[in-house]
């Protein structure tokens, strides 16, 4: 009798989210836990011989943070490189994307040909990062077109080694990341702005607010959740920066490993020696950094706008 007290629809909710959790556990959680596990083993290949896996405790982490003769610690240097490359690319990326998103969604400006511009700014993202870096590699090589222009117009009497100087390599990498991702960010932010009630903008107008005031007092606070999401995904993507510098510097991170990112470091351990121990240890460090930075960004960016 008590059976038919009520119909529970909740179970359907759970059933519908099962596929996500199955995929998440199989392809994200399990590999992540195995990575943690691997980090505590000596496990690599020497030629065709397999060494290990032997349990070594925290040895891999200690090795990772042992300074070399000159006193620099590889892991920290590559983390620094990654952050510099990311900041150089991400700050203009978010700034430009925000500006474009506001322009495109403004009913006052009412820009014509929006679809066309949206397509064009998204275009670089469609090109594979590897192909994009190859293009830049060719453009800026010592005998490439850029150097030919410089030489023939007499701005320099020797070819400029763009790929051999720290500043230019870092700027090129950031420029490429910027070009590839600002379109994507623009579209995300546009969606965010379009989600804001138009009445608010009109009300602000009627109250006599100027564009700047509208931007800082209406758009930005209401956009905060999307902006936090954008910054966090951009940051995680930035920490995992690999393809562009890898291809541009042929995996060397030249000059003097100043464009060598953390994932390139990880990749060096995985290639040839299949050193799962060291690569696992780097992954764990990377995970801790990503998790704590995301937390910090989330807390600081979302706090001021909370009611």
């Amino acid at each position: 009798m008590r059976k038919h007290k009520g119909v529970s629809y909740a179970k359907w909710g759970y059933i519908f989210i099962i596929p996500f959790f199955v995929v998440y556990i199989l392809f994200t959680l399990v590999p992540q836990l195995t990575t943690f596990y691997n980090a505590f083993f000596e496990n690599y290949r020497s030629g065709l011989k397999q060494i290990g896996p032997n349990y070594v405790g925290f040895d891999n982490f200690i090795k990772l943070f042992t300074p070399d003769k000159s006193g620099s610690i590889g892991m920290i240097k590559y983390f620094g490189n990654t952050v510099i490359l990311w900041v150089l690319g991400a700050v203009p990326q978010v700034a430009v994307a925000l500006l474009l998103a506001v322009f495109f969604t403004s009913y006052r400006l009412n820009i014509k040909g929006q679809q066309f511009f949206k397509t064009v700014i998204y275009m670089p993202n469609l090109i594979m990062a590897a192909a994009f870096s190859m293009l830049f590699f060719t453009l800026f090589s010592p005998i490439g077109p850029i150097n030919q222009i410089i030489l023939s117009s007499g701005w320099a009497d020797k070819a400029v080694d763009f790929l051999g100087m720290r500043v230019s390599v870092r700027l090129l990498i950031s420029l490429m990341n910027f070009l590839m991702w600002f379109g994507n960010t623009t579209i995300l932010l546009m969606a965010g702005i379009q989600g804001i009630d138009q009445c608010l903008f009109e009300a602000a107008d009627i109250d006599g607010a100027n564009s700047l005031q509208v931007f800082f007092r209406v758009t930005l606070p209401l956009l905060a959740p999307i902006l936090v999401y954008t910054v966090i995904t951009a940051m995680i993507g930035g920490l995992q920066m690999f393809d562009v510098p890898q291809v541009l510097t042929n995996g060397k991170g030249t000059p003097d490993r100043t464009s060598f990112t953390m994932v390139m470091y990880l990749n060096n351990y995985l290639g040839t020696s299949k050193n799962y121990g060291m690569a696992g240890a780097i992954s764990v460090v990377l995970f801790i950094i990503s998790a704590s930075l995301s937390l910090v960004v989330y807390k600081t960016l979302s706090r001021p706008y909370k009611n």
Binding site: R45, G47, L48, P142, T254, P255, T272, M278
Partner: protein
């Protein structure tokens, strides 16, 4: 019950395999290589038995990618019926249980093959596990017009007399510079002539990294060359170097075997800008070889008979070896065939202005040594050059460059012991 189930499953599998084989009309062999070179020769000059097809697995060798793929598949017991290997890492496979004795499979006649090519494919006990279809003595390739200007002659014998030691080579570099030429076009151009004559291997028996006197000599010479602008800071394969091989190039000397000047130099890449005929070769300051492709027989193959026949064809079949020379511009691994071309006065290379390159190479082969190799050679050679290039470019001091090289070694080969 379990037995019945196993039998049924086995029967299904046999049936599946058989039906696939029948559908394709026979079996498929899997060959591994890092480029299309040998595939081309193979398809042209070798006729497979009825019903047999070959599937090529081709992965570029850069940064050890080919070795990674091959190693993974060999370790996982995938089907590999034959694979190609280069001098820099052949030892890894030859000195392992993943390759097998080819004499047992029917390749027994090495009388026409050059000794070093056989030695390279033999393990520590002298068991031969593969053959090379080419022999790669590497020559000094010089621009005739520049040699005339700098040395006053372009005759190979006279040029050789003026460049037969490193002292003379270095002295001529200064003369070339004075006339506005570069001696070589890459900081690593002379790496092979030095490194092939090392008296010790990259690592010793305790796995310590060792710097041979020859490697030091190369680094010192290059230091001089860069400082005095006798050479460029470009890498061996960089476009900047290739540009020097065209008609408006200013570089006198390159080093390389037959495959290098026929397929890799500027003329091959852009014949219009090249200067075919304005080149000649001689032995140069130090005998050496560069590259070479060996065919190895994996232990796991079930088609040893076909693979052995392929190997025999490419070293002992006179007709095929002759075609490799005349049609494909290779220096074959068959002494009799090479001798025939060397003695043929009508034979000559158009690129070398009619010079008989086979005769020059044949005379050089006696001086080639195969010794002091390790399984690590490819990446250590690459890594040292790449890291020192930064020093030669002036981006870092030598100490930092070496420290970066050691970091690279530690990442690639955790078992190599680095100097303190």
């Amino acid at each position: 019950m379990k037995k019945v189930l196993a039998l049924v499953l086995a029967a299904i599998m046999v049936f599946a395999v058989a039906s696939v084989a029948m559908a394709e009309g026979g079996k498929t062999l899997k060959f591994y290589a890092w480029n299309e070179e040998f595939k081309g020769f193979f398809e042209k000059y070798y006729t497979l038995p009825e019903g047999v097809t070959v599937e090529w697995v081709i992965v570029p060798s850069d940064n050890g990618a080919y070795q990674d793929k091959l190693d993974t598949d060999l370790l996982n017991g995938e089907q590999v019926d034959m694979f190609l290997a280069e001098a820099d890492y052949i030892l890894k496979y030859v000195d392992s249980d993943y390759t097998q004795d080819i004499t047992a499979a029917g390749v027994t006649d090495f009388s026409n093959a050059y000794e070093y090519t056989v030695k390279a494919a033999s393990d520590a006990n002298g068991v031969v596990k593969g053959v090379s279809f080419q022999c790669c003595p590497s020559a000094l390739i010089y621009r005739r017009s520049i040699a005339k200007d700098v040395l006053g002659t372009d005759d190979p014998a006279e040029v050789q007399a003026k460049l037969d030691s490193w002292e003379k080579f270095n002295a001529v570099a200064a003369e070339a510079k004075a006339k506005g030429y570069y001696m070589t076009a890459s900081f690593a151009e002379t790496y092979r002539p030095f490194s092939n004559n090392c008296t010790s291997a990259w690592v010793d028996e305790n796995n310590n990294l060792v710097f041979d006197a020859q490697i030091e000599a190369w680094a010192d010479q290059t230091d001089e060359f860069i400082k005095n602008e006798y050479t460029l800071t470009a890498g061996i394969w960089d476009d900047e170097k290739t540009a020097q091989m065209f008609a408006d190039g200013k570089t006198m000397c390159f080093f390389g075997p037959a495959w290098y000047f026929n397929f890799c130099m500027g003329n091959a890449q852009d014949p219009e800008k090249g200067c075919s005929g304005d080149w000649a070769i001689c032995e140069g300051p130090a005998a050496h070889f560069w590259g070479g492709t060996w065919l190895l027989m994996p232990a796991g193959t079930e088609n040893a008979d076909i693979v052995a026949d392929i190997m025999n064809t490419f070293i002992n079949n006179e007709e095929v070896c002759s075609k490799l020379v005349s049609e494909e511009k290779q220096f074959s691994n068959n002494k009799a065939v090479n001798a025939k071309f060397a003695a043929d006065e009508s034979y000559g290379s158009e690129f070398l202005g009619g010079q008989n390159d086979i005769a020059v190479f044949a005379a050089m082969t006696d001086n080639i040594k195969w010794e002091n190799h390790t399984i690590y050679d490819q990446l250590l050679n690459e890594g040292l050059q790449n890291n020192l290039q930064e020093y030669f470019k002036g981006n870092v001091d030598k100490e930092t460059a070496m420290a970066n090289f050691f970091k690279y070694v530690a990442e690639k080969y955790p078992d190599i012991v680095l100097p303190e």
